[in-house]
Symmetry: none
Subunit: 251 residues, 2 copies
DNA sequence: CGGGATCACTGGTCTGACCAGTGTTGGTTG
DNA sequence: CAACCAACACTGGTCAGACCAGTGATCCCG
């Protein structure tokens, strides 16, 4: 068995068994090397592996620290081992929106085709809540509206898949920011799109509903891209995953 | 920014974009070091990080390989709660195919638009294998063909979602039976659709490719429905999602 | 023809050096 | 005395080159 594997294994067990608490500092690489009687290379490789697993974080000049969100089992990754794709891969967000565009369109299509009167009632309710709310303060009505439409498609698979994609999206920086900081003129267009979508579904026009829904997602996607390109000072989108500010260990 | 981080980032992006297929061999550490103009240590640390993430696997004396379980299979367990949808609800299969129709169409569209020459090569290879095989005896070439197309879309999210859907499909009885027992006349039509799909993608006609792919899935779905209605006795086959072993790296 | 030695790969480990951030410490200076 | 800054002692990050250890093809000999 590879030594570096043994080392990473031992360290991980030590951490997860509670021997080391979150934010606690791990002995320096040189100390570990001496203690475990292996070269520093092996230690570094083992640490990188744990880093990949999200068990520890390393800061240049400071040391390695047990990751805060790790205790027990990685609950974030449990929701989808795919989640790590987003860490530092903003492009994946657009891949996701690309798929979502298609599926939201289908959902709208099916909703316009299959919605029952109960669905109509729910969608209407969600739509009114959406119009009465300031999108700046709360993004939930927006979710509620789309959710009602998706559910009106009466396709549980579609509901499930779109839910997964939405959860993934919420994990990204841009997505959240774009939800909270839409430009005035864009917000207007979005409101208009929502209205068109609402009417198409209520009127039972599947093709139209699909078209509008797809245009909507595409518009949102392009808006995000614009924000990204403008390089607004508000949001610095890290091309690479950067370590958060220096949180002092318990010391 | 740490160089090893950049390296692991670049490699991961390369793999997830579909530039490197599962089971495919990654260049040797010394080659990568020379190519990226960094020391071998940096390469090894980056590879260990990807290893920690489960993106690659390394075998002493052989090399490093893209992990097979990366694209899908991660939420096989996660989808446990969803699996109950199938129990006694064959309708869900058609819900699934409904979604798949849309996504396979998108995959074909994007593949026609974005496929590189390497993708063309892979698709062609898969297509030839498909034509030379008796579909009665083996359904795998069919999977390989569609898989190659999906991967040519260069959208990792799409790859992942379609993989999940496919795995779910394989859990159903009808789906497998339909794969194994197509009627002669239907088989002919399917072959024709495959050929059309192949040509549209190779010729770079996205709209056409999308249309054909969607028609294909819809046709398969309707064929299943027919079989079901005919009340043909279903053969119980223990179906487990199989790991695709038809991916041979370009030697 | 069969089989074992050889050789050219692959990853695994070690060494020791130097670069680059971080924080402390102690001395100089206003 | 207080403020500041330079030196120092840490930390991780990178490099070079060497050697060990699996793997598999190839070649040569029995």
């Amino acid at each position: 068995m590879a030594i570096s594997r043994e080392v990473s294994y031992r360290l991980e067990r030590l951490i997860l068994d509670g021997g080391l608490a979150p934010e606690q500092k791990i002995p320096s690489e040189r100390q570990l090397a001496a203690r475990l009687r292996v070269s520093r290379s092996v230690i570094r490789e083992a640490l990188h592996e744990l880093q990949g697993r999200g068990v520890i974080e390393t800061r240049h000049g400071k040391g390695s620290f047990v990751s805060t969100m790790v205790p027990g089992s990685d609950d974030l990754r449990e929701q989808g081992p795919l989640m790590h794709l987003f860490e530092g891969h903003p492009r994946t967000l657009y891949d996701l929106l690309e798929v979502r565009e298609q599926l939201e369109g289908q959902a709208a299509f099916l909703a316009a085709k299959r919605a029952t009167s109960l669905d109509h009632h729910r969608i209407t309710k969600a739509f009114r809540a959406l119009e009465e709310t300031d999108p700046l303060s709360n993004a939930r009505p927006d979710h509620g509206f789309h959710q009602a439409i998706v559910e009106a498609s009466h396709n549980p698979i579609l509901v499930h898949v779109l839910n997964s994609l939405k959860n993934m999206m919420l994990m990204t920086v841009q997505a959240s920011v774009a939800n909270l900081n839409p430009r005035a003129e864009k917000r207007k267009k979005i409101v208009q799109q929502h209205r068109q979508l609402y009417e198409a579904i209520m009127a039972g026009r599947p093709a139209s509903a699909q078209k509008v829904a797809m245009a909507h997602v595409r518009f949102v996607s392009e808006s995000m891209r614009d924000m990204e390109n403008e390089g607004s000072e508000l949001i610095r989108i890290p091309v690479m995953p950067e370590v958060s500010d220096n949180q002092h260990p318990i010391g």
